[in-house]
Structures are given as structure tokens and as C-alpha cells.
């Protein structure tokens, strides 16, 4: 394992920022630390960088315990949330800063800076000052500056947070591509699940200073193992008394369940039903236009469910009675969360065939 955190504990006064943190990261992976604000993700990043020190536990980078190593000796590149570009230096001098400290010759510096300017698509803009750049450009300069001294590990703190929505989308895919091209092991912090799912090879979910779950974006999306993950990822709704729903009667031990809009299929009366015996009757209570689709709030036996409907399908109306099919739920039994498929669908399937 390339990066390894072992039993890390860290408190700021009474606030427990890291509670028993353990994880490992393979070389060359792009990993997201995902969690709500105050969940301790940035603290982990700063401890890796050597900007904070853990109260106890070990940090290993490339097999070396780096706890007592100062930040500059860890071979790390760090991209700050608000870029932290040196205001009074040109783009060129910003990128060359780390190289000059390494006592590289003028020629080497120039070659490396030119190479990086090309990589970030800002060729010929080396003479500009940070205030003459757009947010996205600044972020790319910050990225180049962190990469310049050839670090082994790249850490990015909320790399897209300060950038407007349109550019952010572009920058995400650009960053993923570029990191793959450079082949550097990278960890980035984010509170945005879409960002983590889209960019990362692997996601580490943090909450209240603890790690909730580690896995690939698909695993985390499909099989959340804790209630927090189930609720945090996707557009999830918490259901308290779901045993009333058809097909889930047997799961009585469990206390809570989480459902996502994509688990719910809504059919208008008269449209063909795939599993006629498994559907519930629901009443459309609210319709909201979401641009690419319509979001419906549906009341099923007093339980509020959310489902989506494509604009291409026959529109439903407020107060209309519809058939609702629930494919699956994430059921939380007090310790772990697991996926439970609709029993009624499984029972009926052979008959239907």
C-alpha cells in the first residue's frame, strides 16, 4: 500500500476531528475523501501533508512512517481550496517557486515550467499575475505549482469549491484526465457527492471524525453499508415505518430504510404493468419541474415517496391515482445497512414468465 493511516486520533480542544481513522490507498489511485463539513476530511488531508500532527497513530507514505517528518520532506504537492497562489508573483514564478528551492538550474526550471504550462493549457500566459486569471485558470496554476517539484503524492483540498458551476464541470473531467496522464497518486477532499462519484477511483466517506465506508463509487452507490452512507449518497429519503409496503412485510426487525427516486417506478393507470401483483396505489401530491425530468411526490399508504418521470412519458396530474412499484430499499437494522429487494417481485416473477 502506498499511503496508509493507522489508528489516527486527533482532537482540537473538545472537538474530535479524527476518531480511529484507518485506511490504505494504492499507488496511482485517485481517491476522494467525501463527507459533510466538519466531518474531519480536511483534517486527514492536512495531517497527511504535515500541516497538522495527529495526537496518536501512524501515517505511512511509500512504506516510510512520516509522523515526525516535516511537511517539506514528505514529497507532497498540495492544492489549496482558495488556490493560495502567491499574489505578487507571476504565473511563471509561482510554478517555479518549488523548483528554485530545490536549487534547480535556470534552464531546468524553465523547461519544467514550460512543460507544465503546456499541460494546464496556459502556454504563453506565464507573465500574468494571479489577479489577471479566471478562477479555473488559477486552480490549474495551483495544480501546476503543486506538481512542479515532482511530488509522489498530490493532495487537493476542495479543488472545485471556489469555481462556478459551468467551469467546475469542465475542470473535473480535466483534472481526472490530467491526473491519469501524470500518473500521480492523489487524494482530494470534497463535500459534493457528484464530484466524488464522477472523479474518484475510490471514495472514503467520513462522518463525525470517523470513516463510514470505503469503496469504489459504484460499490458505495449500490451497497451502502451504513445508514449515513445510504442517506448521504444519492437523493435519498429516510422511511420510518416501511413494513406496510407490499413486498417488504417480512423485514420487521429493521427499524429504518432509505429509498432513492430511481428505486420507484410510477405507472399511469391503463399503462402496461410488468408486475401487476406487486404494485401499490399512490396519489400524486406534488409535481416539480427539474429541467431534464419531473419530480413527483407520491403518497403511498401515508408514506411520502419521491419518483421521477421523463418529459417524454405521458404526464401525470396532481391528485391522480397511479401504480407505484418499489424495486428495493436500503434497510438499516441498527448496525449495518443492506439492500433488500422487493419480495413480491421475486415471488411473482416465475408466474409472469
Amino acid at each position: 500500500m502506498y499511503v496508509k493511516l493507522h489508528n489516527i486520533e486527533k482532537s482540537f480542544g473538545d472537538f474530535k476531528a479524527s476518531d480511529h481513522i484507518n485506511f490504505e490507498i494504492e499507488k496511482g489511485k485517485l481517491v476522494a475523501l467525501l463527507g459533510p463539513s466538519g466531518s474531519g476530511k480536511t483534517t486527514i488531508l492536512r495531517m497527511l501533508a504535515g500541516l497538522e500532527y495527529p495526537d496518536s497513530g501512524d501515517i505511512f507514505i511509500d512504506g516510510v512512517r512520516v509522523n515526525d517528518l516535516e511537511a517539506s520532506k514528505r514529497g507532497i504537492g498540495f492544492v489549496f481550496q482558495n488556490y493560495a497562489l502567491f499574489r505578487y508573483m507571476t504565473v511563471y514564478d509561482n510554478i517555479a517557486f518549488g523548483l528554485e528551492i530545490q536549487k534547480k538550474s535556470k534552464k531546468e526550471c524553465k523547461e519544467r515550467v514550460e512543460e507544465l504550462l503546456e499541460l494546464i493549457g496556459l502556454k504563453g500566459m506565464g507573465h500574468r499575475y494571479p489577479h489577471q486569471l479566471s478562477g479555473g485558470q488559477k486552480q490549474r496554476v495551483a495544480f501546476a505549482r503543486a506538481l512542479a517539484p515532482n511530488p509522489h503524492l498530490l493532495l487537493l483540498d476542495e479543488p472545485f469549491a471556489a469555481i462556478d458551476a459551468k467551469v467546475r464541470q469542465e475542470l473535473r473531467s480535466w483534472l481526472k484526465e490530467t491526473i491519469n496522464k501524470v500518473g500521480i497518486t492523489s487524494i482530494f477532499v470534497t463535500h459534493d457527492q457528484d464530484e466524488a462519484i464522477e472523479v474518484a477511483d475510490e471514495i472514503i466517506i467520513t462522518n463525525h471524525g470517523r470513516i463510514e465506508q470505503i469503496g469504489t463509487p459504484l460499490e458505495i452507490y449500490r451497497n451502502p453499508t451504513t445508514l449515513f452512507t445510504a442517506q448521504f449518497i444519492g437523493e435519498s429519503i429516510l422511511l420510518e415505518d416501511y413494513g406496510r409496503l407490499k413486498g417488504f412485510e417480512q423485514e420487521v426487525r429493521a427499524a429504518k430504510a432509505v429509498i432513492r427516486p430511481e428505486f420507484v417506478k410510477v405507472t399511469k393507470r391503463g399503462e402496461q404493468l410488468q408486475f401487476p401483483n406487486s404494485v401499490e396505489e399512490g396519489v400524486v401530491e406534488k409535481l416539480s419541474f427539474r429541467g431534464s425530468h419531473i419530480e413527483m411526490q407520491i403518497n403511498v399508504k401515508g408514506i411520502q415517496l419521491v419518483a421521477t418521470r421523463s418529459l417524454e412519458e405521458n404526464p401525470v396530474n396532481l391528485g391522480e391515482k397511479v401504480d407505484v412499484l418499489i424495486y428495493r430499499l436500503f434497510v438499516y437494522n441498527g448496525i449495518t445497512a443492506s439492500v433488500v429487494e422487493n419480495m413480491a417481485i421475486q415471488d411473482n416473477a416465475p408466474i409472469y414468465i
Partner: protein, 282 residues
Amino acid sequence: MNKTNKKESKLVRNLLILLSIIFLFIMLVMPLVVVLSEALQKGFKLYIDAIQDKYTMKALLLTVEATVFAVIVNTVFGLFAAWSITKYHFKRKRLLTVLIDIPFAISPIIAGLVFILTFGRIGWAKEILDFLDMKIVFAVPGIILGTIFVTFPFISREIIPVLQAQGNDQEEAAAIMGASAFRIFRKVTFPQIKWAFLYGIVLCTARAMGEFGAVSVLSGHLRGKTVTLPLQVEILYSEFNFTAAFAVSSVLVILAIIILIIRNIIEHQMKKAGGNYVRKAS
């Protein structure tokens, strides 16, 4: 209705501007004119003679000396204090910020008395000073000490807000790349605080030159030894030597005007640099 409102507001505007101008004229411009005209009343030669007086020249030198010392000491400690307050977390940080402001709140006379009670004949430090064969009260070190006390907050007060607004990110970024503390200060921090720092020095200089209260208590008025320009003005005035008093005053006024011009140039530069910052943040 709208129109009358506009008319009224225009009237109010002009009235306020006029009042401000009249007030400033009576309170500031007229006295300055009086100083200069009184100084030159008995002819230019007498004016020059008054300035070239042996004791006046000594007083000018002492003022310059005290100012230079005060600015140097306050530059060093002002930087340290501003740095500690903005870059480190520690207990009682707020207390330190309040302590820095004390000279703003305390009358300079009291500052002078404090030093007399500490280092004077009845002071507890008297024996140590005797042992070291040093004299502070009624001597040049006392004057410098008083001036430093009074002007202490100026430089750190100017730098602290700028450093606070910047945060530590840039310094951390430089540190991760292995830059030494001195390099970080020289290349990253100092360019940011440069104008605020110079502005602080100018304010400190202006205040140090004009200091009267604390210095008056600590000086003992030994002519040619412990008399600064403001004290010299007072002595001349109390001797009814008005022409000389005004002549020496005019020297102080001219120095103040020079500093005012420098101050404005720096303020302009600061705004320019600040403008960059605003654009960067947006």
C-alpha cells in the same frame, strides 16, 4: 415630490461641504498660516537665525534621533507582534492585542510618569541602573523610551488587518515546498504587507516627531541635552521669544507636511495593491 427631495438633498450636500471647509479652515489652516506668518514677521533673516540657533539645532538632532530609534524598535517589535498574533494560535491572544493598544488609550504624561517611577530616583530599577552606570530619566534614553512607548501600536496596527485578511494559505503552500522561514517572509509575506508597513512607519514617524507629553516628563528640560523640537518650542514660548517659537514650530510643520505627502503617496499605492486583491477574490 421627488424633485423637491433632490433639491433638498443638494442643498444639504452643499451646506455640509461648506461647513466642513469652514471648520477645517478655522481649526487647521488658519493656525498654520498664523504660525508661518508670525515666524516670518520680523523678516527672513531673523527666521533663519532662530532656526540656526545652537539649541534649536541640537533639539532638531535629538528629535531625529528619538524618531529614528522609535521607528526602528517599533518596526522590529511591530512585525513580531503582528506576526505572532496573525500566524499562531495561543491562549490570551486577545489580551496581547489589547496590550498593544494601551498607548492609544493612556495619556502620554502618564506614560512618562510610569517611566519616572520605574527608573527615576525613587524607582525600583534605580539601583540596577546605578550599578550599570546608566541614566534613563532626564537623559536621552528616557526620551527615546517615551517616544517608543507612545508610538508602539502604529506599525503593528497597520499590518495586522492585512495579514489577517490574507490567511496562512500562501505561507503553508510555500512551506510545503520546503521554503525557509526567511524566504517565505521575503518572497510571500512581505510583498503583501509592504504598503501597510510603510504606511505604519510614516504614521509612527509623524507621531514620534511631535511627541510632547511623555517626553516632557522624562526630559528634565536640560537645554542642548534633552530638549526635543516640541519642547524647544515650549521653552522659547514661555520665554516670550515668540518669533523664535513660531520659527521652530514652522520647522515641525514643514516636516509634518512632507510626511503627509509621503503618506498620501503610500495610501494611493496601497489602494492600487488592494484593488488587485479585490479582483483576485471575486
